[in-house]
Amino acid sequence: MEYLQFIIIIIFSPLIQGLIKKLKANMQGRVGPGVLQPYYDLIRLLRKDMVVSRVTSWIFKATPYIVFASTVSAAMIIPIITTRSSFGMMGDVIAVIYLFAAGRFFMALAGLDAGTAFGGEGSSREMTVSILVEPMMMLSIFTAAISAGSTNVARIAETQNLFYSPPHILALSAFVVAVVAETGRIPVDNPDTHLELTMIHEGMLLEYSGRYLALMEWAHYMKQMLLFTLAADIFFPIGIDSGGAPALIAASFGIYLCKMFLMACAMALIESARVKLRFFQLPSLLGGAFVLAFLSLLTYIMIGK
Amino acid sequence: MIAILLIPLVTAALCYALRSAKTLGYISFLGTVVLAAVAVPKVLASFSAPAEAMKGVLYMDSVSGYIMAMVIFLGLASALYSIGYLEHELKVGLTDLTGMRRYYALLHIFIFTMLLVTTANNLALMWIAVEATTIVSAVLIGFGFRKRAMAIEAAWKYIILCSVGITFALLGTFITYYASTAVMGTEGALNWTALKNIAGELNPSTMKLAFIFVLVGYGTKAGLAPIHNWLPDAHSEAPSPISALLSGILLNTAFYGIMRFVSIVEPSTGDVFTGNLLILFGLISIGISSVFILVQDNYKRLLAYSSIEHMGIISLGVGIGGPLGIYGALLHILNHALSKPLMFFASGKIQARYGSTRIENVSGVLSSMPLLGTLTFIGTLSLAGTPPFNIFISEFTILKAGVDKGLWPAVALFLLFAVVVFYGILAGFGRMLFEGAEKLKKAAPEDKGEAVAKVLDFPDMLGSGIMIVMAFCIIALGVSIPDFIDHAIRNCVAVLGVR
């Protein structure tokens, strides 16, 4: 049972995406699409034929599978509703970050592969952002990892007790920025537009269609939900189950859904309240968040709690 | 003691209230005379027994008295000199009545803050007073009585750098307070007298940290290199009487703070730690300033760099330590406080006469203005450390102390730099003094200053009078040190507790 918890991510991740879109629309005074819209989109895309450019190589065709597979592997490592999962022993939080990085690497390659201007642009931007985001994410997780004495996400979730301390808050704020950047949301990227001058993530997907696009989008939804889950595990582990009783797992599942809902709200709020930054302003934001993460680590070492 | 502090304030208020350009200067001079009359007995008394006031907040021992005497003497001298200087500025239209009133008022507040430094027993109060001297003197430099771009630039650098520096001194003071409360509780824990008693029990590593901060902080204010950049600007752009005060005594009051700290830090950390730091800072100052003196083409800046050099020598003296080293340093403070203001007074007159502060624009001072030229010559020789003059004696004393302690590298470097400085100063001023007078007509500007300086009127004579007195002191001190000064310095050495 607990080995299958990653299925939750696969199934529910489009729902989270739909939820954020709906909430955002409501906050902006629009009706917006229904929360199930991403499911319909995925089904529609899976049914459609594909158009693949003749100049592309095997990388273009392999990338959707690699991205999807790497994301699912990450989902297996991260505890979702219970920390008792033997998959968790196979990798720690660093592995999670590098699984994401592997997916991103292939996505960037695929963006370049088709040889279009926008794909290359998207790839180069994505890589620039990731240079800043990856170490920042690591640092903010390290604060928690040091206090838990382990980089294993399950151990962190079990022993996490930083709840009311400055380093915790600093790391959390840095992590939020990292999540925003990783999921390609405002103010870093705008997920709703294909305006060529601003897009980052969408630029790399521009050449994909049909089944491949469905896989890529799905992987993206999953990554988003995984990052939320990671945030919940590391910063708000209250309620996560560490035993194995079915009743407790059910309760944990309910709590988990509540947390996901709250995070979706927070994300929608951030997206509605902020404006997209110009690309060359990003280093300021991400650099600031990096310093936050850094300070959090230092403060943790200093205060020692 | 409170009266001593009140008199300058009252004078300042009077000067600000007065609305007559003629009498303003004399009132201010009168104020300093009254101050001197009140203070001299106190100073003399302080050499035999320390005095306290305001429940121990104010305190006066021989070191305070020694520095205070210099503050008062130079305050008097520059008040006297200011009369003629400001009348000249008024005539050529560089200032107006408002400017003069502000100038005199600030001058006396400046004197007040320096007096407060010397009488403060509480180290934090001393810090407040030192910071106040910065603020007041910055105003005097920047827009005391005329608005020029360069003066504002100098004042800005001065106040920013000194405020930053002195912030560190306050940190050092805090740390000292921390160390002393650990030993004696909070009551009077920052009073120098109390600290002196328990100096041996303070935590050495804490005091080391405190001393480093204090040295950097007050060292900035005292013009020790490498944080000396503000000094040449400020001293060369200030009005000459103010330059004289800044160079002659303000630097010394900052150094006075360092000496007070040395005497409470040394018992716990040992004199090697403080000594090495002071010697290092001293040698760096002497070295850097000697290079700049050599290449300087502006005589007021040359004098300012010479101030850095002399502060370096004083620091070296205190750093070498021992009764002889401290004796030499204290004597050097006095000698420098006589020679440097004399030179700044003279340079003010030269500037008024030639309308330029560049060495190349000035020549034949000795032949065109025999009295002023002679005085300048005496000052130059003294500053360069030529044997029959006062500064040679004190430099020699410090050297002797260094040789006695076997600090050969420091002694050798000092001698080397002293030679460079000797050449630099003599070359610069020698050109101004002796070079042909025929170029004078060409170089001098046509209109301003020319007519005024020709006629020796009464205020001008007052200024020359005080300069003659100072030159006389320089020669007298060079020949032999009078008994009462010798006695006073020996008392100071004893108070500072040098073993």
Binding site: P283, G287, F290, M302 | E131, F174, S236, V295
Partner: protein, 219 residues
């Protein structure tokens, strides 16, 4: 109430907040934001003193907190805002180095301070990290002074240094005697007023508030 403060480590939060506002100074582009950051910093400082006063029950610390609030939290920001308005320089701070680098360097400064003071030369105060934070704030203030071009930003850097200094003094000794603090604050107030007047003079004489123009005097 006291338990509550302990449990939620309010003192840690406020001191880290003081550090954060200092670091944040590096990120801001507009002069008004800088002044506002300074205001927040001063309010945090004052509230920290007040809370410690409450915790240890010292009346003279309440006075210190009030004095800090009045001078640093109200008078100085109002004065600075007026200067900014008078100089009509509401636009960019124009640092010599870009914001990201400047943020990074200030982060490194904090690390250096933490590392060098972690040995614990003297820690007996109320919170282990306050001394480190205060030294870091002093250094960041200095760094801001070095890297900013506008006269007013230099003043703000200086003020941050002073705040750090107050925090340091406070963490070491629970504050100086009130009369001394009054004197120091008065000095500071006068200094800033004079600096403000100078800044306006610079603007008027050099027709620019950039300090780059101040290069007549050298050598």
């Amino acid at each position: 109430m006291k338990n509550w403060i302990e449990a939620f480590s309010v003192i840690d939060f406020i001191s880290v907040g003081i550090l954060l506002t200092a670091v944040a100074m590096n990120a801001f582009r507009r002069l008004e934001s800088c002044v506002r950051t300074y205001t927040v910093n001063s309010w945090l400082l004052s509230s920290l003193i007040a809370i410690v006063a409450f915790m240890i029950g010292e009346t003279h610390l309440y006075i210190a907190a009030a004095l800090t609030l009045v001078t640093k939290g109200i008078l100085l920001p109002v004065f600075l805002r007026r200067i900014v308005k008078q100089m009509k320089v509401t636009h960019d701070v124009e640092p010599y180095i870009n914001n990201a680098l400047s943020l990074t360097i200030s982060g490194i400064l904090v690390a250096v301070v933490y590392a060098s003071l972690s040995v614990g030369i003297f820690v007996s105060g109320f919170s282990k990290n306050v001394l480190q934070i205060s030294i870091a704030v002093i250094l960041i203030g200095l760094f801001i002074m070095i890297t900013r071009r506008k006269a007013i930003t230099q003043v703000i850097g200086l003020l941050f240094m002073e705040n750090g200094l107050f925090l340091a003094g406070f963490s070491l000794t629970f504050g100086m005697p009130t009369i001394i603090e009054l004197g120091v604050l008065f000095d500071m107030l006068m200094g800033v007023i004079i600096l403000g007047i100078f800044a306006i003079q610079i603007k008027r004489v050099f027709t620019s508030s950039d300090l780059d123009k101040l290069t007549i005097l050298k050598g």
